[in-house]
């Protein structure tokens, strides 16, 4: 099979478009690269959506944790401790078992005029179940980052805001929130990188791969098993993740520049990329 054929057959294999059967027998290098790349679609999907939704929830959690009332502070603290203090791996297993226990119910509702049929069975699939776990996990980690930044907003800035007659929502939106983001952004970039890397764990999370539509590691381990040669598929996964990391750094670096565009150039914080760590 030539490379062009491999791309045609397998480029979108992980979302169910293209050749049904996975390559057997003599497996070419191109097939491995294309199929693993196709699996990366799922890693990107899970990481991007969890990060997007998680951002808003994390800001909410951080504000709740910083609030004076124990009614909002305690639940936020517990949520953050629960998801930061336990291994993501165990969270995946637990969530899967919990979702399987859900009663089978189908719900029909209308969203923007389109009738949608939702089923509880979806929770036991990776695209929703694993996404929820990753969402909660990244929310907890990011909330801790935002909480730290929220507490280190310079007092002078807040006093100046008071002096200008800003209060409540206006003060938060114009002063507190932008400064928090500015302070938290380098750490949040690392968090985003970790999150994308922890999508690799989804493969082991007991969420089944439906019709062999798996993520990058699913195909990599398939090839490693078929060829008894880990030296090709796993480095391919590694290269893909390095490329993904570079994309994240570029994107978040651009946001970082935008957040700090009002500062003199020597006072702008640089993004320091720390090595990734497992959760």
């Amino acid at each position: 099979m030539t490379c062009i054929e491999a791309i045609q057959a397998y480029a979108l294999r992980s979302i169910g478009i293209g050749e049904r059967a996975l390559p057997q027998g003599d497996i070419t290098f191109c097939e491995q690269v294309v199929l693993i790349g196709s699996g990366m679609i799922w890693n990107v999907y899970l990481g991007a959506l969890a990060l997007l939704f998680g951002f808003f929830f994390a800001v909410t959690l951080a504000i709740a944790k910083a609030s004076k009332s124990p009614l909002t502070r305690k639940p936020a603290q517990w949520f953050i401790f629960l998801f930061r203090g336990s291994p993501l791996f165990i969270q995946f297993f637990m969530a899967y078992e919990a979702f399987v226990m859900l009663p089978r119910v189908g719900v029909e509702f209308e969203l923007f005029g389109i009738a949608i049929e939702a089923e509880t069975r979806w929770f036991a699939r990776a695209w929703l179940g694993a996404l929820i776990v990753l969402f909660c996990n990244t929310s907890a980690y990011a909330a801790e980052i935002f909480y730290g930044a929220l507490r280190s907003v310079p007092r002078g800035d807040l006093e100046a805001a008071d002096a200008y007659g800003l209060s409540g929502w206006k003060k938060f939106r114009r002063i507190t929130f932008p400064t928090t983001m500015r302070l938290a952004w380098p750490a949040y970039t690392n968090e985003a990188i970790f999150l994308f890397q922890s999508t690799a764990l989804v493969f082991f999370s007991s969420f089944p791969a439906f019709q062999q539509r798996g993520d990058a590691l699913y195909y990599a381990s398939y090839f490693a098993e078929r060829t008894f040669n880990p030296f090709v598929p796993y480095p391919i996964v590694g290269v893909y993740f390095v490329l993904l990391t570079l994309c994240i750094i570029t994107l978040f670096g651009a946001i970082n520049r935008r957040l700090n565009r009002h500062l003199p150039s020597d006072r702008r914080p640089k993004l320091r990329i720390r090595p990734n760590l497992i959760r």
Partner: protein
């Protein structure tokens, strides 16, 4: 365990659970917690050693040693560790067999990679095919520990390298002025002082190491995750203790175990930080 456990089907709830939670497989389950502690006890010092060597190599004056050190510590950037975990175990396994193969069977003329197969001569199989079960298990565990040590050693290397650079330069210059040799400066001035700078990073790595222990399951070790899945699955009436799918509750137990472990570590590490910053010229230390 208890004398009334003869016929579990006749017991009332409390006694049934007392018997169920102390039967043979549960004892194995409790023992597997020791596997986790054993892993931490062996892998943590080993990783620290690797990290120390890597950090020292990265500061070396000899260029190749520097390249090796920097290459090792920066390999963990960008690539998920889980890929390393899967990769290294296979690589170590095949590497050991290959080296033994070269030594023990020099006149083997068939290729080792035959298409999809990795073939070495029988004497080079590690462990030997007829070895007892416990040797196989210990060998797998040792491979897993070594993999953890390599991956976490790279993290430690990063932290220790930063800590060595954080020790104030005048300290070393003063030591040099007193006529200490390079080796003396390193062991008597730099190393004793770097720990306080390394501690925040190292405690972070410790927390992460704790949370990475369930991955032992992926390396084929019969650890707590393995037993939780094994015991928790539903048992029909053919078994002595029939029950529906209880895996959720077993994982909940593991979750609580890890939360508790993290909490205890947090407390111990914060004490250690306070102890180590005593007498340091930092905001936390008393000496000015």
């Amino acid at each position: 365990m208890f004398s009334f456990c003869e016929d579990p089907s006749t017991l009332e709830t409390f006694r049934w659970f007392a018997c169920y939670l102390t039967n043979g497989v549960h004892m194995l389950f409790y023992q597997s917690f020791l596997v986790v502690f054993a892993l931490l006890a062996v892998a943590a010092p080993l990783a620290l050693t690797f990290g120390f060597l890597a950090a020292t190599a990265s500061r070396s004056r000899i260029a190749p040693a520097r390249w090796v050190g920097k290459g090792y510590t920066s390999m963990v950037r960008g690539i998920p560790d889980i890929v390393f975990f899967l990769f290294f175990v296979l690589v170590l396994d095949q590497g050991i067999e290959y080296i033994r193969h070269l030594i023990t069977c020099p006149d083997w003329d068939e290729p080792i990679r035959q298409g999809a197969n990795f073939l070495v001569c029988d004497q080079a199989r590690t462990p030997q095919g007829n070895a007892p079960q416990w040797i196989h298990e210990t060998y797998n565990f040792a491979l897993a520990v070594f993999t953890y040590a390599i991956v976490f050693g790279a993290f430690c290397g990063n932290v220790l390298y930063g800590a060595m650079n954080a020790v104030p330069r005048p300290q070393m210059e003063t030591a040099a002025a007193y006529g200490m040799s390079g080796r003396q400066i390193f062991w008597r001035v730099l190393v004793p002082q770097m720990w306080i700078y390394a501690l925040p990073g190292l405690s972070n790595i410790w927390m992460i190491l704790i949370k990475a222990t369930p991955l032992l399951f992926l390396l084929g070790i019969e650890d707590i995750v393995y037993w939780a899945r094994e015991i928790g699955g539903s048992r029909n009436s053919r078994f002595a203790y029939p029950h529906p799918d209880w895996r959720f509750w077993y994982f909940l137990g593991l979750l609580i175990f890890y939360l508790g472990f993290t909490k205890v570590s947090e407390i111990v590490l914060s004490r250690l930080t306070r102890r180590l910053s005593r007498g340091q010229a930092s905001a936390a230390g008393a000496a000015a």
